[in-house]
Symmetry: C2
Subunit: 201 residues, 2 copies
């Protein structure tokens, strides 16, 4: 058997990013402790500061290299569906069965980070804004497609509806997570389904 090489810079960097993402997800960025990240990853502080200039730079890299793909993969299926509304309602119906606990206990990592850091640090703000814009644009494009093929009312303003939808999604995540309130989240999902249906012709 070949012994694992002792120095694997790419792997070390990736481990740091993954563990930092988890720690940030749990505690937020400010409250995230470098020592906790180091302990969980088995990497030392010297290695961390070799790969990243500062805690902030580490956070920026997490947003770009972990959070962005995470968001993309999460919503891609719904946005790519030929009937957005149908897919979204289905998504809302399935959520309580799968992966809801994680969302309740930890919330949406994007929303958490956005609320915490976007206003305080432009580096975070710009990167998170790019994710948000891509998401909104994707929803708006999906709505327009729906209007063309007749599955969405023509008098709906796609840009406004996309902003409203995003707000409602992130808002319900935030409120539900803060109190781990499954009941609230399910009620909000019900309301969301009602809204989605009202977008139909």
């Amino acid at each position: 058997m070949t012994a694992a090489p002792k120095r694997q810079p790419d792997r070390t960097r990736q481990i740091l990013l993954d563990c930092a993402f988890e720690e940030i997800r749990r505690s937020g960025f400010r409250a995230a402790s470098l020592d906790a990240i180091l302990e969980r990853s088995g990497v030392t502080k010297g290695a961390l500061y070799h790969h990243f200039d500062s805690k902030t730079a580490l956070g920026h890299a997490v947003v770009e290299e972990i959070l962005r793909p995470w968001m993309d993969s999460r919503w891609q299926a719904v946005l790519d569906a030929e009937d957005l509304i149908e897919a979204a309602i289905q998504f809302c119906r399935e959520l309580p069965q799968q992966g809801m606990d994680e969302l309740l206990t930890q919330g949406c990592p994007f929303n958490n980070l956005f609320n915490e850091m976007a206003a305080a640090d432009a580096g975070f703000g710009d990167r998170l804004q790019a994710i948000l814009d891509a998401w909104r644009a994707g929803i708006a494009a999906s709505l327009r497609r729906g209007q063309r093929n007749g599955s969405v009312r023509k008098d709906v303003e796609p840009v406004a509806a996309a902003a409203f939808l995003v707000s409602a999604i992130e808002g319900s995540m935030g409120l539900a997570r803060a109190r781990q309130s499954r009941a609230f989240f399910e009620a909000a999902l019900q309301g969301m389904i009602g809204y989605l249906q009202s977008l139909r012709p």
Copy 2:
């Protein structure tokens, strides 16, 4: 002329609460610096710790004695209107003209605190939850009244719609504030108006 008495415990306490509310509004609770509160209020640390056992206790008092009345007064007019939907749409239309800048730069203080502290500290969580529940209950009651007098569709589930509405309101506040994005907020308001209209029979 009668000199101002040197010891005014109630007034001192009130000044501390007001200044703490402002500081928390700007910086959040954790980042709020006691020294900053003291400097702004002209009160000393000894006085603060005479009136409040800890920074946390001060925060709890701010929620109960400042934030709760602040929220009540903010929404009372809309919730008491005989036509909730009409009043809410009017509210959304007037917002861009009045008091929007404050909301954009500082966000909704309730939402900020809720997201930051509700999960971490049960003292905050319970108090904030009470405010949220009262708000939701008020909206749901208003919707039911609307259903009785014919201004709201009968097939709307008031509890779910109230949760959805609250989520959308707080979500849009949060997203708009984080980036000071007036455009996003106005788009979300447009979407909100569309939703409110869809509640009509």
